[in-house]
Symmetry: C2
Subunit: 150 residues, 2 copies
């Protein structure tokens, strides 16, 4: 299980992005996140990951929804949990996993973000987009329901 957090500054309309350099398929801008430990609650895991990657302590997380990648044989799903917050404190530090900086939310696009990231962004920003699925691991994600209005 994995997670990702959109940290949004409503005054500047900027989000905190990472430019991942350690994982090939993650090239491009993405948000802080990582893996949830087996014995760790989902909220605590998100707070921990953001702190480890950015040095910021986040609170008042809101639930945005989920992404689901299915493996068919054997059948199981990998789950991703998406949160957002505008409440944070501490000093931004750089991470071994890539450069971290603020950029305007409106500047994120297909070209400058990681694989599938714009589907994630839809879930982060549209209250009625709460799930995206792929029938294969690391496959292309489809927002569910497919006909959901913006």
């Amino acid at each position: 299980m994995v997670n990702m957090c959109m940290i949004y500054n409503p005054t500047t309309k900027e989000v905190l992005v990472e430019d991942k350099t350690d994982v090939a398929w993650k090239f491009g801008h993405t948000f802080p996140g990582g893996h949830i430990e087996k014995n760790e609650g989902l909220y605590d895991a998100m707070v921990r990951e953001v702190y480890e990657e950015t040095g910021l302590h986040v609170s008042h997380l809101e639930s945005c929804g989920t992404v689901e990648w299915f493996n068919q044989d054997p059948l199981y799903r990998r789950l991703g949990f998406l949160y957002r917050t505008s409440t944070y404190s501490g000093t931004l530090k750089q991470s071994d996993e890539g450069k971290i900086y603020w950029m305007p939310l409106a500047d994120l696009n297909e070209q400058n973000t990681a694989e599938s990231f714009m589907k994630f962004l839809r879930i982060f920003t549209d209250p009625h987009a709460v799930d995206a699925t792929s029938p294969v691991m690391n496959g292309s994600l489809t927002i569910i329901p497919k006909e959901a209005p913006k």
Copy 2:
């Protein structure tokens, strides 16, 4: 994995409740929900469960958060996914699993709801309460973080 949906009518300020009669620990009011099939997406599972139990078709689900019950030996977690919506159509039908009717949201309390339900209700209604955990299966739930303001 399980799910539960708060169906809210903003005009009447009522929610759709079930009075579960088939499961001892569920005595008292609760919301529609059930089990997620292993090969079923989370959104589709919630729509299906509501339809099966109430006859209503829901859409425009919002993500409220999660509940987590941990089993310690062997270590695993059972996950519950909570959604809410005010968009529904169809005709209310009764279910074998208990009577279903509308009641004022404000009338739900510790006395007339199922075990742990008021913790669920906090997650359904407080955007900053998005997770509740129990260190044991079916144990008492704690909202995380414990100090989260209302």
